[in-house]
């Protein structure tokens, strides 16, 4: 039957010069005003330019803004390049920047980016290449919000999805859930991309993405495959598997509202019970680095800290000292519920953690949840242990959002209800300090403090694993996983 059917329908190959990239899910929005998910951000990097963009070390790098300065602690003045054009040839000017920022600040638009611009009080465009932004208070992380993609001024307030940008590519067709077709922006000033077209296919199943790579139906995949599949892909002569240090941070969230986990000795015992080197080796096939904290070593504010060791003996002694002795030989000291998402690697991690904590007398009940349910539980404080990750870390102000005592949900990300006056003071100072050296010193102290207090158990920084056809040249994968490198790439 299949032979007959196949005989009559030959597959049309992708057009010559086309690069097909596979995403695991459909970006929820292609509009920079509404985009919140990782795949939406990857596309935004290709379609739009912002005033600045994140560099590999987390610092802001110039993009549309050639330079910027601060005449006072509440004002940023951006000097724009005049050579960026929208695909129709219209120049990107300060008016477009002002209109885009004002649209996002308008509560009527209900943009998820509005909160990040909460400190912005006014935007001025005194001439086509100058933008002045006034802040309500000194706020050092503000530059992090200046990556917002710029839309044409006359479309910035449209309520529907707007996808016109001045990035290296332009969107020419979108079949949602299926594929997005991008063509080079012929007016892109830093070299018109050579990939034409760039097709983004939505392939949800990991194994199918791998088979598509093998067959040549897909040329590039950025979502790291399971370690053993990555090894197999490396044996295929037409494919190149590239591994580089990444910035995504995987950790065990601890709920400090629980009296057992509120005890620092118990948190330290949990940390000491985990063999993170072993977890990286056996759960991840060595595609990660054991982490000491939120910021990876490549980040400008990273402070070198001693990695927590694996010492089950000391973990047992700490638990004894904390008063959690086993009621009888062989019985657990206490039980903890560990919530995790259904991702295979997260489930394997849960099993490994269950075994290692079991070895020091902590029984772990693993509960696997669909992401929406896990997220809601973590947000509402309905968890004891949970495996979570931070992706796309840029400004260290994340320490304020994740660990300041006022940032418990719904205000911020302090899901474990960690309270420390020292951390509060330091993270507040970090967002009010502009001098880079002083800021770095403040965040070094924050990192040391958290390494001592252990409000979360750092596990690892995930490597970036990119698999692509050997026909692709000139592409440099980025540590954060963005695809801007495709602007300079070509197929032979």
């Amino acid at each position: 039957m299949l032979v007959g059917l196949a005989g009559g329908c030959a597959e049309a190959p992708p057009p010559a010069g086309a690069l097909v990239v596979a995403f695991d899910s459909d970006p929820q929005s292609l509009d920079p005003r509404f985009q919140t998910d990782a795949n939406g951000a990857r596309l935004a990097d290709l379609l739009y330019v912002g005033l600045t963009r994140a560099g590999a070390d987390g610092q802001r790098a110039p993009e549309l803004a050639r330079t910027w300065e601060m005449p006072d602690r509440r004002t940023f003045v951006f000097h724009l390049r005049s050579d960026f054009r929208f695909p129709d040839g219209t120049a990107v000017t300060a008016t477009d920047v002002r209109a885009t920022y004002e649209a996002v600040r308008d509560p009527a638009l209900a943009s998820p980016k509005r909160t990040a611009l909460a400190v912005l009080s006014a935007v001025e465009a005194p001439d086509p290449t100058t933008v002045v932004m006034h802040l309500t208070e000194p706020f050092a992380p503000f530059l992090d919000a200046t990556g917002l993609g710029i839309l044409p001024a006359d479309r910035a307030r449209e309520r529907g999805e707007v996808t016109t940008g001045a990035g290296p590519f332009q969107l020419i067709a979108a079949e949602r859930g299926e594929r997005l077709v991008l063509a080079p922006n012929p007016r892109y000033p830093d070299g018109v991309p050579k990939l034409h077209p760039l097709i983004v296919r939505i392939v949800p199943d990991e194994m199918v993405r791998v088979l598509e790579l093998r067959r040549g139906g897909v040329h590039l995949v950025e979502d790291a495959p399971e370690p053993e599949i990555g090894t197999w892909l490396g044996t295929i002569p037409t494919l190149l598997v590239r591994r580089s240090p990444g910035t995504s941070f995987v950790y065990l969230a601890l709920n400090l509202r629980d009296p057992r986990l509120a005890d620092r000795r118990v948190r330290e015992a949990i940390t000491l019970a985990l063999d993170r080197e072993g977890l990286v080796r056996f759960v991840l096939g060595e595609t990660a680095r054991p982490a000491t904290g939120l910021l990876a070593p490549e980040h400008w504010a990273y402070a070198r800290l001693r990695s927590p060791r694996h010492d089950p003996g000391r973990a047992r002694r700490l638990l004894d000292r904390a008063g959690y002795r086993a009621p009888r030989p062989g019985a657990p000291r206490f039980r903890l519920v560990y919530k995790t998402s259904s991702q295979p690697v997260r489930r394997r991690l849960a099993e490994a953690v269950q075994t290692e904590l079991g070895a020091v007398g902590i029984a772990v009940d693993v509960r696997v949840y669909e992401w929406g349910t896990l997220y809601a539980d973590v947000r509402s404080g309905n968890f004891e242990l949970a495996s979570l990750a931070w992706v796309g870390i840029t400004d260290p102000d994340l320490y304020y959002l994740a660990f300041h005592s006022t940032m418990m949900p719904p205000a911020g990300y302090n899901r474990g209800a960690y309270v420390s006056r020292v951390t509060d003071r330091l993270t507040t100072a970090g967002r009010q300090t502009f001098a880079p050296a002083r800021r770095r010193a403040i965040y070094a102290r924050v990192q040391r403090r958290l390494a001592h207090d252990l409000p979360v158990v750092p596990l690892w920084w995930e490597d970036r694993v990119v698999v692509h056809t050997r026909r692709l040249h000139g592409f440099e994968p980025s540590p954060s996983g963005d695809l801007r490198g495709l602007a300079a790439a070509w197929l032979d």
Partner: protein, 308 residues
């Protein structure tokens, strides 16, 4: 026959109302907040409240429910929270893919299942019968999440005849349609065989043969016509299920259909889109089953008499 169709259409209203009510209730019991998913975890409370108000999520559940029904009756299914587009437009963009896959699977299943079922019944106990029974059992037992990748490995990777996944020309349709059709065909082969065997033992078939009707006529015209009635009923149920979106097959083959859209909508807690999808699925299900009942009435007019 018209009476049957009218009666089914009248039943459609309470059925759909029940389905929509249940979905509405269960969806709001799920943990997770669409506004928080949309605006991000640290959105200002004022913004969260504003969007909640704009989407009508700040109102009592009963008010939200009545409002949804009132709009749905006018054909307005609301705005998708995740896609920021009218629900009707989002569903309309995906529905053709689902229809295409469902139709191809049904045609494939019918082409292979009915002749094989007839052959197995006519040659009862023969090697053909045994082979048909084993094959149909295998078709029913093989799960699509296993069968799909197996077909990909064989026909796309090893032989290179067909694309691995995605939606494009006829070539892209073959593997997902075969994956779905095999399971359906397995049931239909067994049902056709059993139903035809029962019909072949009836007096009217013996009478036809006694009156000199050739075997092919007694089987093909007299027995098969009656034997097809339960087959058509089951086909209707299966077609309805296919139109509800074959989530696993759609996911495995990256097929942009309604099933995947529904899963995506549930994950994003996109209440209007979930309700819209369920409504579309429910309507399709009832429409297909009504069509199947009408077809069964054409095959066996006594069924239409019973409906009066």
């Amino acid at each position: 026959m018209r009476a049957l169709a009218v009666r089914r259409l009248v039943l459609l209203l309470p059925t759909m109302l029940g389905v929509v009510t249940l979905v509405f209730a269960f969806l709001h019991l799920l943990p997770g907040d669409p506004v928080e998913i949309m605006l991000g975890e640290w959105a200002a409370p004022a913004d969260v409240a504003g969007l909640r108000r704009e989407l009508g999520l700040d109102r009592p559940l009963a008010v939200q429910y009545v409002r949804f029904l009132a709009h749905a009756i006018r054909g307005d299914l609301g705005h998708s929270i995740a896609f920021r587009a009218p629900v009707g437009r989002v569903i309309a963009a995906r529905y053709p893919a689902t229809l295409e896959l469902a139709a191809a699977s049904l045609v494939l299943a019918l082409i292979f299942a009915v002749p094989l079922g007839v052959l197995a019944a006519v040659r009862r106990g023969s090697a053909v019968d045994r082979a048909a029974r084993v094959a149909s059992l295998a078709g029913v037992c093989l799960p699509s999440f296993w069968l799909g990748p197996l077909l990909m490995l064989g026909f796309s990777i090893r032989l290179g005849w067909l694309p691995v996944s995605g939606r494009g020309g006829v070539a892209h349709l073959v593997l997902p349609a075969v994956t779905l059709a095999l399971g359906m065909a397995g049931i239909l082969v067994r049902l056709t065989r059993a139903s035809l065997l029962a019909a072949l033992g009836e007096d009217y078939v013996r009478t036809a043969r006694a009156k000199g009707a050739p075997r092919w006529r007694a089987v093909g015209i007299h027995a098969l016509r009656n034997a097809l009635v339960p087959v058509v009923a089951v086909l209707g149920l299966q077609a309805g299920a296919l139109l509800a979106g074959a989530v696993i097959t759609e996911t495995v083959f990256a097929w942009p259909g309604l099933g995947r859209l529904l899963v995506q909508a549930i994950q994003a807690r996109d209440y209007p889109l979930v309700q819209g999808c369920v409504l579309a699925i429910g309507l399709s299900y009832v429409a297909v089953n009504t069509a199947a009942d009408v077809l069964a009435g054409v095959i066996d007019p006594r069924l239409t008499e019973d409906a009066r």
